[in-house]
Symmetry: C2
């Protein structure tokens, strides 16, 4: 493992590296998000990467932010259309590259970006490199659920399209670490996504992974609940849902699409008649309360796991609230020394012949 002491120093300061240029709403929304976070949390400070002139103008208006922000000039911007392979080759001048560089050097423990996911993953992989014992990094998201904390951790949701049994075990360990450090679940319940809960169901690699994860539960202090089904992603059977990136990506997009269809139909239903319009006025606060609970802006932040450093990916369309939620998550992970703990956890699960010498 590279330079854990550097990571720890950064964690103590809670310095967050922020790509200020990547999102659809431009640097003003990113700075507004940082401002919300700066007001809410006196312990965090920022490195903002992007156009120095633009960022200076935005930050200098707010002394509470200005005092705690370092601006690092980067003239290039990764767009949503840029190909990951191209960004890796020619993106050295971009704010995204620069934001990851601050994690690579150990200056910050966590980077936040709302830019192009593919490019961010490719850059993170190449610049930060995989942790020892990790073959496939994963993207983890928080999915609204009926459990106590209101969210399940789900991974992988699209870093890669495949995962073998060993990868799925690593995902379980990384997801457990994330649930513990990001959601404060002391003893996470881990479930392996399948088409049925009986042990004989599903693909070969899932049966292998089932036994591997089960055998690590005791040492790693989690509860393995075995196979879970699609309905359990939003349920209360597990706190961590483990799956390959193909299945996970399709599942979360199906869930998002379904939620969005219900939202549309709900609005239509309330527009139907005069009485329903009146009801919608009275129901307004109730509907807002519902929205707060399942608002994607508040559960913002897919997290890249399995690298030397943590990268929080915010939605491309994130506004100030969304960006602030991603920063809050990044700060919590940084303060908990999350990535070092995760690295230790994954390393401990390696077969002994693979373990790096002390």
């Amino acid at each position: 493992m590279t330079a854990p002491t550097d990571h720890k120093r950064a964690a103590a300061r809670t310095l967050i590296s922020v790509d200020a240029m990547g999102g659809d709403q431009g640097p003003a929304a990113v700075v507004a998000g940082c401002l919300i976070s700066a007001k809410a949390n006196p312990d965090i400070s920022f490195i903002l990467h992007g156009s120095e002139a633009e960022l200076k103008a935005l930050v200098s208006k707010h002394p509470i932010l200005d005092n705690r922000t370092t601006i690092r000039n980067a003239v290039g911007v990764v767009t949503m259309e840029d190909k990951p392979s191209q960004v890796v080759r020619t993106g050295k001048d971009t704010s995204m590259w620069s934001a990851i560089e601050s994690v690579r050097t150990g200056e910050a423990a966590v980077a936040v970006s709302c830019g192009n996911t593919g490019a961010l993953m490719a850059l993170s992989m190449i610049r930060l490199r995989k942790l020892p014992g990790v073959n496939r990094p994963a993207i983890a998201v928080l999915y609204p659920s009926s459990n106590k904390q209101g969210f399940n951790v789900m991974l992988d949701v699209g870093a890669d399209i495949k995962a073998d049994a060993d990868d799925l075990l690593r995902f379980a360990l990384m997801g457990m670490s994330y649930a513990r450090n990001g959601l404060d679940v002391a003893r996470p319940r881990i479930g392996l996504l399948n088409v049925g809960t009986e042990e004989h169901k599903g693909r070969i690699e899932l049966k292998e992974a089932h036994d591997l994860i089960r055998d690590h539960a005791r040492e790693a202090a989690f509860d393995f609940v075995g196979f879970v089904e699609g309905g359990d992603i939003s349920g209360n059977k597990a706190d961590v849902i483990v799956t390959d990136g193909f299945t996970g990506n399709i599942a979360i997009k199906t869930g998002e699409g379904t939620a969005s269809l219900i939202g549309t139909r709900l609005r239509e239903a309330f527009k139907y008649s005069l009485l329903s319009r009146l009801a919608s006025v009275l129901a307004y606060t109730s509907l807002m309360r519902l929205r707060l609970k399942i608002d994607p802006r508040r559960v913002n932040g897919g997290v890249f796991l399995g690298l030397n450093g943590t990268v929080v990916k915010s939605h491309g369309s994130a506004d100030a609230t969304g960006i602030s939620a991603a920063i809050k998550l990044a700060a919590q992970l940084s303060q908990n020394g999350f990535n070092d703990k995760l690295a230790a956890r994954v390393a401990a699960a390696l077969p002994s012949e693979e373990q790096a010498p002390e």
Copy 2:
């Protein structure tokens, strides 16, 4: 193909073979569902399979149903806990077996059951056998969507956990036939589920399937929209979503779970205060209107495709409304001569050396 003339005769009569014993709510709910359908549609008649004494008592109360119903005595009942392999070996006396037998003999073109899905699939496979050219049968469901007809056809959602490129082509053709005959979409748009819409994305078999399906679009008169994502299952980009049974099963259960979580949260939000309770009273009709549009009872009926005969699987928990919806779908498919058309469509897509002699 076996006895198309028999199938056609059955289709003309629109005789529906109904497993009356399989559902959670017992034969009373099934008979109540048949009664709703009998009142709504004078062209259909029924064979009810199950306990003769029980069914006679239930049916004889309603002359409109009694006149059009044949009761076929079957003393055994397949429970939700029964293993498919066991039902296949020892289930000859069950109402489920008997219901499928009526399709096998050509007496009815379609069977309806709300029993154990695994057992129903296994029995259907073994008794009805696969259509020429079909390697893997598929289960297709209607998924609420924002397109004109309000539903997409999605398949496979769990008949098998795998599908190669050839299977996915057959699914596309079968799904197209279903959209045309079950949803009245003259020229269905077909999408292949993947983690991104770019042609280079996803697994090898998906890229192969992409080209295979594209190459059959013209002859089979559908529009191929290429790769679609999880969010498009409830969207308006395609009318038929093609995927393997593992991915499809997890996707629909994720969608159902998410919809159910939103429903719970919505009810909580409306119970929060006096004002929100009042709003919920006023909003009642709006919410009911919403429910009608996305009510799973009204989109009831997964359909087994790729066999010599069609089997409509209703939810295990289906009530009279749900069962009636499944019967309506079965009647429409039967009246359209659906299974013969599907068989012809799949046979036409066979490589010439595999085609059976005329």
